[in-house]
């Protein structure tokens, strides 16, 4: 399994390498400008290692990656790695809260829908789920801002914090709300919450749509099994049969779903952060894109891609921990 993870990582880096190296823009020209002489051009060419065979170039690139050297950002003039560390917590905060909402609400929804198959509750859950994963997240974000911020004033607007509150709270974890609590700045805390709640809810809704659908599907499968009949024959209450036995068996499969959902939350972050001007990884990458900052874009790609791969591996590991059948027989 570790072998396949490494192989996938190599594949990912190979793709980013290819994109970075063979793109139309000449990397030498971006450094020396198009008025440089042939000698300068050649010198920089050799300095960048472009005269080496492709394989060697790839290995050098790989070597730099594992030492977290993603190059320098054209946009911020700082090492890309530094930028990534700065923006990542914001995305984690958003994606993390959205996932929590998705699981806490989506799983029970799916269970309730499955146990009431065909009835109104089931139809409602299926309908809401269907809406959820047919909706473009950026559109929902805009509509949400329009309604809840502009018209109703229930939440704060775009951005992570009102400008007035910038730099009041020292950065410890990068999660503003946590940092605010650590120093007791409740006003900052509530302001941050007001900004976070709308995007997190929207992303949360989209996550719960998928999670509820999958939970329902897994539950329906479990409820057909013999051990459920046996559990009823023992005289257990439906509550226990469903929430302890059936759901216990569903968790195993749900782990993969949750990992996948988190992955797609990171992906969608580019769109959400654009809409909400949320200073996270997604917005960073979009801005880099339009600044033609290839190092930054590829750096972000490698980061997200690696997290994706890591999530897949994690879900496999958790699966084998949670499902007794996957462990070694005693």
């Amino acid at each position: 399994m570790l072998f396949s993870v490494i192989l996938t990582f190599l594949g990912l880096t190979a793709v980013t390498f290819v994109i970075g190296r063979f793109m139309p823009l000449d990397p030498v020209l971006t450094i020396v400008g198009d008025k440089a002489s042939t000698e300068v051009y050649d010198r920089v060419y050799r300095e960048l290692g472009l005269d080496q065979p492709v394989v060697v170039q790839y290995l050098t690139y790989l070597g730099k990656l594992v030492r977290f050297e993603f190059g320098t950002s054209v946009m911020t003039a700082r090492p890309v790695m530094e930028d990534l560390v700065r923006v990542f917590p914001a995305t984690m905060e958003l994606a993390g809260l959205a996932l929590v909402i998705g699981v806490l609400i989506g799983v029970p929804m799916g269970v309730i829908a499955a146990t009431n198959r065909g009835r109104i509750v089931d139809q409602i859950v299926r309908f809401l789920s269907l809406l959820g994963y047919s909706m473009p997240v950026f559109w929902l974000g805009l509509v949400g801002l329009l309604l809840f911020y502009a018209k109703l004033g229930w939440v704060e607007g775009p951005g992570r914090l009102d400008v007035a509150f910038d730099d009041i709270v020292p950065t410890v974890t990068g999660l503003i709300m946590v940092d605010a609590l650590l120093v007791g700045e409740t006003e900052v805390f509530f302001n941050a919450l007001g900004h976070l709640i709308l995007p997190a809810s929207i992303l949360g809704y989209l996550s719960l749509a998928y999670i509820a659908r999958m939970t329902r599907s897994f539950m329906l499968e479990q409820l057909e099994q013999e051990y459920i009949l046996a559990a009823f024959a023992k005289g257990l209450s439906p509550w226990r049969v469903v929430w302890v036995h059936a759901l216990g068996n569903v968790w195993v499969q749900l782990v993969t779903v949750i990992a996948l959902t988190f992955g797609s939350l990171l992906e969608g972050a580019v769109l959400t952060e654009t809409v909400f001007a949320w200073p996270g990884l997604g917005l960073y990458m979009k801005n880099s894109l339009f600044a033609a900052d290839l190092n930054a874009v590829l750096g972000g790609t490698v980061l997200i891609g690696t997290i994706y791969i890591f999530l897949n591996m994690l879900s496999d590991i958790i699966y084998s921990l949670v499902d007794p059948r996957a462990r070694e027989p005693s």
Partner: protein
């Protein structure tokens, strides 16, 4: 013996409505069960399993269950709410299923599943239930119950799993046990072990047992009385020892088709089915014969 029969069933019918017309899985089944071992034999689709489940109130949705009488002791099972039935299941009547690989929760330890029945019906503490479960595992002849308690269903053999199932279902002390194909998923060598354990428990607790199987030989050697079902109806009732005197052509056909050691035949006769066997029997059998001990 004038004590009340454990179970009285009169004209039990189970119907499944469908677009193409109702399917009558069980038709007018009647029998009485005392503290004895009753076998119900039939092929797949004969309605034998459905009968067992209907008695427990576990017929698969959207079944419609009707009966003139369905009495567990003096409790009218037809009039019980689902909540009341739940209290009866496991405590007064129990059911053992066919394959422990599938009928035990794969992600919970077997010991906990046995203890669970105890806690549910006897409101015991965790420690009490565990102790009772260990006792029960002992009672089904599982050596080293402490170690087995923590194991998972996929780690135990078929025979052990079935014994665990029996322990799980009998721990709360029911008086009726319905065993639906309890040995069909087991190796032949293990079958008799499991059956004898079941026998021992049923006898020592004075329980009534309904053994459902497709195996005529098994049923006739293990049970006191035999009911033969075909297409949802009972077509034959007799004492196990007197099977050879069976009347109904279906039963005779089944008997004739059984291979016997020491009895050489060239070809086993094939069962010839008479479509007339599908017709409703006007006077269902059990109502004709007097109940045992009357």
């Amino acid at each position: 013996m004038m004590d009340m029969p454990l179970l009285r069933v009169r004209n039990l019918s189970v119907t499944y409505p469908s677009d193409d017309g109702d399917f009558r899985a069980v038709r007018n089944v009647s029998f009485t069960l005392g503290r004895e071992r009753l076998g119900i034999v039939g092929e797949s689709g004969s309605g034998k399993s459905t009968t067992g489940r209907a008695i427990m109130g576990l017929a698969r949705h959207p079944a419609r269950v009707q009966a003139d009488e369905l009495l567990l002791g003096d409790i009218d099972l037809r009039r019980q709410t689902e909540r009341q039935l739940r209290r009866l299941r496991g405590k007064r009547m129990a059911m053992v299923l066919q394959d422990p690989k599938y009928s035990l929760d794969p992600v919970m330890s077997v010991g906990q599943q046995v203890a669970e029945t105890h806690r549910t019906h006897l409101n015991s503490s965790k420690a009490e239930a565990k102790a009772a479960a260990l006792d029960m595992l002992n009672a089904v002849h599982i050596r080293d119950p402490e170690r087995v308690y923590a194991m998972y269903p996929h780690q135990v053999s078929g025979g052990m799993g079935q014994r665990i199932m029996i322990a799980m279902m009998l721990i709360a002390g029911p008086e009726l046990l319905i065993a639906d194909e309890p040995t069909s998923a087991l190796d032949v060598t293990v079958q008799s072990q499991v059956l004898s354990i079941m026998d021992e428990l049923v006898r020592s607790r004075g329980m009534g047992l309904i053994l459902i199987s497709h195996n005529l030989h098994l049923v006739s050697s293990f049970c006191d009385r035999v009911l033969v079902m075909y297409a949802g109806q009972i077509v034959e009732v007799c004492d196990a020892g007197r099977l050879a005197d069976a009347q109904h052509p279906y039963t005779r056909g089944l008997l004739a088709a059984l291979p016997e050691l020491g009895h050489r035949r060239r070809d086993l006769p094939q069962l010839q089915r008479d479509p007339a066997w599908m017709d409703d029997i006007i006077t269902p059998l059990e109502t004709r014969m007097p109940p045992p001990g009357a």
